[in-house]
Every structure is written in structure tokens, then in C-alpha cells.
């Protein structure tokens, strides 16, 4: 039996950017962008689900983000996650990778009782690959990055195949350990139709608060209990729930890196010489390249 916690992130779809995406303080205006499940994180969840199927245990998923990230947590249920956590608080806004890893490590500490922490190698909005190792360091965990496959787990040691520059490595990692999963490692399973029917009704604390506010016959505590009993509750953690959290280490203020300047890209290159795609055009280009000893 092995318990896993999977860190996932909802990311702006950087391939489909429109409009003004940067706020004046240089942070990203996520409201302007379509949000998707970061693919490598989905592969990490797949790997965790495979561990559960083979050895038993549970899979919990955590994400730090705005309330709408609960859409992605529902998708985690559709794939087979047992429990999901939304780590959400306005005080987290503007966190860099270090502040983010601090919040995540506090949340993982809060949840506790795990053998594996999984994450995607990196998220497509920043491509930094920093949050995984930074979280591992804060939790005093060892780590294996660029994981492709868990070959076996024996006596609390996982044999892992990982990518390295120019090749591959097989390592034995003692549990508990944090793993970051590389693209193409594991094809995420499709959503189960049966699970969609059940978990589309999953709710966060914020959803339930809204329901209670709109209908005076409903009591919030009872609602939460009801959704917990039905296993349809997305645990919602804020700074109030993570009581040990040091507020000076989160958000923009708790981030060592600051965006000093954001510039739109100005192209400085000169005018290209236009070459016609004809025999003559291409011919004279080749002559010029040959004469200048650039070709030949």
C-alpha cells in the first residue's frame, strides 16, 4: 500500500494567447486566458494511479490556484483520484516558484501520510521545472526528476527509470520521495463516464458557501458534512487552515524574484531582402551565397 500526493497546476493555454495577458505589475492576468490541465501533471497523476492499482493505497491531488482550478480537480476525480485539495487564498497571489513551493510544502505537511509526492516536470506557462525540487527541499525529501517509469517497488524502495542529458538512468529511491514526471512518460487514461456522472457534482467550500448564501434553508456546516459523506467534497485550504504558515513567505511579498520590467517584443532586425521564389530569384541568391563563400 502506497499513498501518493500529486501536485497539479491549471495553466494558461500558452498556445492560444489573445488580448492583454500581462497586468501592469508584470504578473499574468490569468482571467484573460483559457485554462487547461498542465499535461505533465496529468501524466504524473496517471503514474500515481498506476501505483495505486498495482500496490493499493490512495491518490490525493493538490493544486494551488484560484477557485476555478476546481474544474481541473474534478477531472482528477474523473481519472480516479480519491481526494482533491484546492489550496486557494488571495494572499497567495503573485507567488514566485519559491513562495509557491513553500505553500505546497505546508499543504503536503498538513495532509501528511504519504509515500510518494508526484508532480509534472514543469508547467507550460513558465517552463521553469523549479517547483518540484523546491518543494522537495522544503519537505526534506529526496527527489528523482525527469521520471519515465516506476519499474517496481520493493521493501520501500522504488526502482525508477529517468531521463538524463544524452541518455537514461535507473535509480533506486528510498521512500518517501518526490518524483517529477517528464512528457511522454505515461499516456493519461481517459475520463471514466461513470465517474463523470458522479463527480461532476463535486463542490469546493466556496461553491457550498455560495449555495448556502443563496438559500437560507441551507446550513453551510451541514452542507459540507453532506458533501464529505458523499465523497463529493473538494477540500479547500486557505491560510486559515494552514495554521503554521508564515505570511511573510507567501505572495508577491514573500517572493525573492520580482518582475522588474516587461517589454513587448520589438523586432530590431533589418529589412529582409525579398527573394522571388522563381528560377531567377533563387538562382541569384545561390550565386550571391557562393560568391561570398557562405555556401559551397
Amino acid at each position: 500500500m502506497f499513498n501518493s500526493i500529486v501536485m497539479v497546476k491549471q495553466v494558461p493555454d500558452t498556445a492560444n494567447i489573445t488580448g492583454k495577458v500581462m497586468k501592469d505589475d508584470g504578473t499574468v492576468n490569468r482571467a484573460m486566458l483559457p485554462a487547461i490541465f498542465n499535461h505533465e501533471d496529468k501524466e504524473a497523476l496517471e503514474l500515481a494511479l498506476q501505483v495505486k492499482e498495482q500496490y493499493g493505497g490512495t491518490v490525493s491531488v493538490i493544486t494551488m490556484g484560484p477557485p476555478r482550478a476546481s474544474d481541473m480537480l474534478k477531472e482528477c476525480f474523473y481519472m480516479g483520484a480519491d481526494k482533491t485539495y484546492l489550496i486557494s487564498d488571495r494572499k497567495f497571489a503573485g507567488s514566485d516558484t519559491l513562495a509557491t513551493s513553500y505553500v505546497l510544502s505546508e499543504a503536503i505537511d498538513h495532509i501528511g501520510n504519504f509515500d510518494f509526492v508526484f508532480a509534472g516536470r514543469q508547467a507550460i506557462d513558465g517552463d521553469t521545472a523549479q517547483v518540484g525540487p523546491q518543494t522537495a527541499e522544503k519537505l526534506n525529501l529526496s527527489q528523482v526528476t525527469y521520471v519515465e517509469e516506476i519499474e517496481k517497488i520493493e521493501n520501500s524502495v522504488a526502482r525508477i527509470k529517468r531521463k538524463i542529458d544524452g541518455g537514461q538512468e535507473i535509480v533506486d529511491a528510498a521512500l518517501p520521495v518526490l518524483l517529477t514526471v517528464v512528457k511522454g512518460a505515461q499516456e493519461p487514461r481517459p475520463f471514466s463516464a461513470k465517474k463523470i456522472m458522479v463527480y461532476k457534482n463535486a463542490k469546493t467550500l466556496l461553491d457550498l458557501e455560495k449555495m448556502a448564501n443563496e438559500n437560507s434553508l441551507l446550513n453551510l456546516d451541514e452542507l459540507v458534512q453532506e458533501y464529505k459523506d458523499k465523497k463529493l467534497y473538494i477540500e479547500t485550504l486557505s491560510t486559515t487552515d494552514l495554521s503554521d504558515i508564515d505570511i511573510t513567505r507567501i505572495g508577491l511579498h514573500g517572493s525573492p524574484t520580482k518582475v522588474h520590467k516587461v517589454e513587448s517584443v520589438v523586432l530590431t532586425g533589418g529589412e529582409a531582402t525579398k527573394i522571388e521564389p522563381t528560377q531567377e530569384g533563387l538562382g541569384s541568391l545561390i550565386d550571391e551565397l557562393l560568391n561570398n563563400h557562405i555556401l559551397g
Binding site: V21, S101, A129, K258, L282, I286, L289
Partner: protein
């Protein structure tokens, strides 16, 4: 702000007793940063029987080296390496620490930044030291960590104003490598490795590595294809042209993601930066991340169906049209003229 040191550190990544190129490139950049600070450049070498690597760093500008020579750190493993670097950085508080943005560097640098509460910026394409005014406060000699961000629509300048240590990772090829003509020998400070119960939490069972057969950085002519080619079959045109002109095949990130070409041939911010004599850029729209990796080429020939593609802004020669028609034609004409 508390007084800070003027030390610039470069982590020297080594495999089987050989220093990685990216580390030597970073030493050359580190030399310039240290000169700007009137400071010193230190190479940080971890390995087993690697004193020769520490000695070699002076050729690339190091003033001194910190050497940790021990069987436990023979090959990179996260905990022994990060534990040692955490200790060194916490003790010395260098002003700047640079790492290659390799699999090793990307695993190690975040741990060290996390432990030492340092600012870390990934995949910088430029590093500059400058006085900065941030939120109405003046800071002297900050490291500007410059990188394209967010789909390449913007260039972000990141700073670490209030923490003593500023860290950055940089991809291979972004900084230029050159040996000094009159280097002065380095002083080597050996630091003892103290074993710890966590050393063997991760053990290497087997490792398979081969030096990349692809040498994009050293290639005088590169033929690069993009997503605009549409299919892997069409990407064969890139191979045909490369063969005809004696060039290396390369691709944009989109072409790599689409499976047209392997990752070790990716040109751009998260791939390799190249400075060839000539680069053909075919079916590549020219996002900033890509241009960052090739705009220093001596000559750029862009072929694209879209006359508005940004690649034409950096190209020296622009051809608007279909690659399927232009490339075979170009190859025929070229072969004919060579005769």
C-alpha cells in the same frame, strides 16, 4: 540592505571527469559579471578525482575554485550535491550563482535556491548587472535576469532585490565560450565532504549516456524546419536540403513537439542557441523563443508562406512561398551551379 559579497559562482557540471560545455560558457559570462562588480569568479567543482577540472577552470576566467572531491559525489545525485551546495552558499553568501539549465542543473539549482531563500530564474537568455530602482528604492549592481516569457510575446526582466543571493540557469550555447589568452592559475580550496545518512537515499543502478552525435553549436550551416511544414513526411525536405548544402538538420520547438525532429536538434530558448554562418529557417513563424536561439547567425534565409511571419524581421533574405516547391527547386539549381 545588508552588505553583500562580490563573488560570482559557477557550478561546474561534470560527467565522467569531463566538464560540461555549458559550465565553461558560464565561466566566460561569469568573468564579465565579476569584472563589472569588481569581484571574483569562483568555480564550484564536485566529483571524484576531478582536481584537473578545477585546474582547467582558470582557462575560462575563474579566479579560484572550490573543490569537493569524494567518491559519494562522483556522479550527480540530488541530496549529496544539494546538501553540499546549500552549506557552501549559506556560509559564503555569493552574490550570484549560475547553473547550466541541464537535467542536473534544473534538479539542483531549485533545491539550493529553496534552502538558501535565493531568487532563481530559469533559462535566461541574457544576464546584465545594472543599478535598479524598484518600488522607489535604489539598488546598486543587481543582476538582471532576462528571459522571454509567456508564449514569447514579452521579454521579462527578473530581479532579486532584497535577498543576498541571485541565481540563474542558462541553456547550453546561449553564452559564448572562449579560452583566455593569458590566464592566471587558480587557487584551489578543497572542502571536505562530510558523509550523511541521507547520502544513499537515491542510488544509481545503471546509467547510459552517450555524447550527442548532433553538433548544432559547431555547425557552420543549419537547415531548420518548423510546424509550418505540416507533416513529418514534408519535414524530409529539410533533410534533403541539409544534405545538399552540407548542413545540420534542426527544428523549432513546435516541430519537436509535433514529433518531426528530435529534441536534441531544437533551436531556441529551451533548446540550443546557435551562431552559424548560414541558417535556413523554413516553415518557422519565428516566436521570440526561437529567434533568441538563432538571430546571431551570420546570414538567415527565411522561407514561409505567411509574408507577415515575424521570422522575416530577423532574416537577411526572405522568400514567401511553399517549401514543397522552393526547396526541390533550390536543390536542383544549387547542384547545377556547383558543377
Amino acid at each position: 540592505m545588508k552588505s553583500v559579497t562580490k563573488e560570482v559562482w559557477v557550478f561546474i557540471e561534470q560527467h565522467d571527469g569531463k566538464a560540461a560545455d555549458v559550465s565553461l560558457e558560464l565561466l566566460c559570462k561569469g568573468r564579465k559579471l565579476a569584472d563589472r562588480l569588481n569581484g571574483v569568479l569562483k568555480a564550484i567543482v564536485l566529483g571524484y578525482n576531478v582536481k584537473n577540472i578545477a585546474e582547467k577552470t582558470f582557462k575560462y576566467g575563474a579566479d579560484s575554485a572550490i573543490l569537493v572531491d569524494h567518491p559519494i559525489v562522483d556522479k550527480y545525485r540530488p541530496l549529496p550535491y544539494s546538501r553540499m551546495l546549500n552549506k557552501l552558499v549559506n556560509e559564503h553568501k555569493p552574490r550570484i550563482v549560475l547553473f547550466g539549465a541541464t537535467v542536473v542543473g534544473r534538479g539542483l539549482a531549485p533545491r539550493v535556491a529553496s534552502n538558501t531563500v535565493s531568487g532563481l530564474t530559469a533559462d535566461c537568455t541574457e544576464l546584465v548587472i545594472q543599478d535598479v530602482t524598484y518600488l522607489k528604492k535604489d539598488y546598486k549592481d543587481l543582476l538582471l535576469q532576462i528571459r522571454p516569457a509567456f508564449g514569447g510575446n514579452i521579454i521579462a526582466t527578473i530581479i532579486t532585490p532584497d535577498n543576498p543571493v541571485q541565481m540563474a540557469t542558462v541553456r547550453e550555447g546561449v553564452m559564448e565560450m572562449h579560452e583566455l589568452e593569458t590566464p592566471k592559475p587558480v587557487t584551489i580550496e578543497e572542502v571536505e565532504y562530510i558523509e550523511d545518512s541521507t547520502d544513499d537515499l537515491v542510488k544509481i543502478v545503471e546509467q547510459y549516456r552517450e555524447e550527442s552525435k548532433v553538433n548544432l553549436k559547431g555547425a557552420p550551416i543549419i537547415v531548420a524546419g518548423g510546424y509550418g511544414l505540416g507533416t513529418k513526411e514534408n519535414f524530409k525536405l529539410i533533410h534533403d536540403l541539409a544534405e545538399a548544402v552540407g548542413g545540420e538538420v534542426a527544428g523549432s520547438r513546435a516541430a519537436v513537439d509535433a514529433g518531426f525532429v528530435d529534441h536534441d536538434r531544437q533551436v531556441g530558448q529551451t533548446g540550443v542557441t546557435v551562431r552559424p554562418k548560414l541558417i535556413f529557417s523554413i516553415g518557422i513563424s519565428g516566436a521570440i523563443q526561437h529567434r533568441a536561439g538563432m538571430q546571431d547567425a551570420n546570414k538567415i534565409i527565411a522561407i514561409n508562406t505567411d509574408p507577415e511571419a515575424p521570422i522575416f524581421e530577423v532574416a537577411h533574405y526572405g522568400i514567401v512561398g511553399k517549401a514543397e516547391e522552393i526547396i526541390p527547386n533550390f536543390i536542383d539549381l544549387y547542384k547545377h551551379k556547383l558543377k
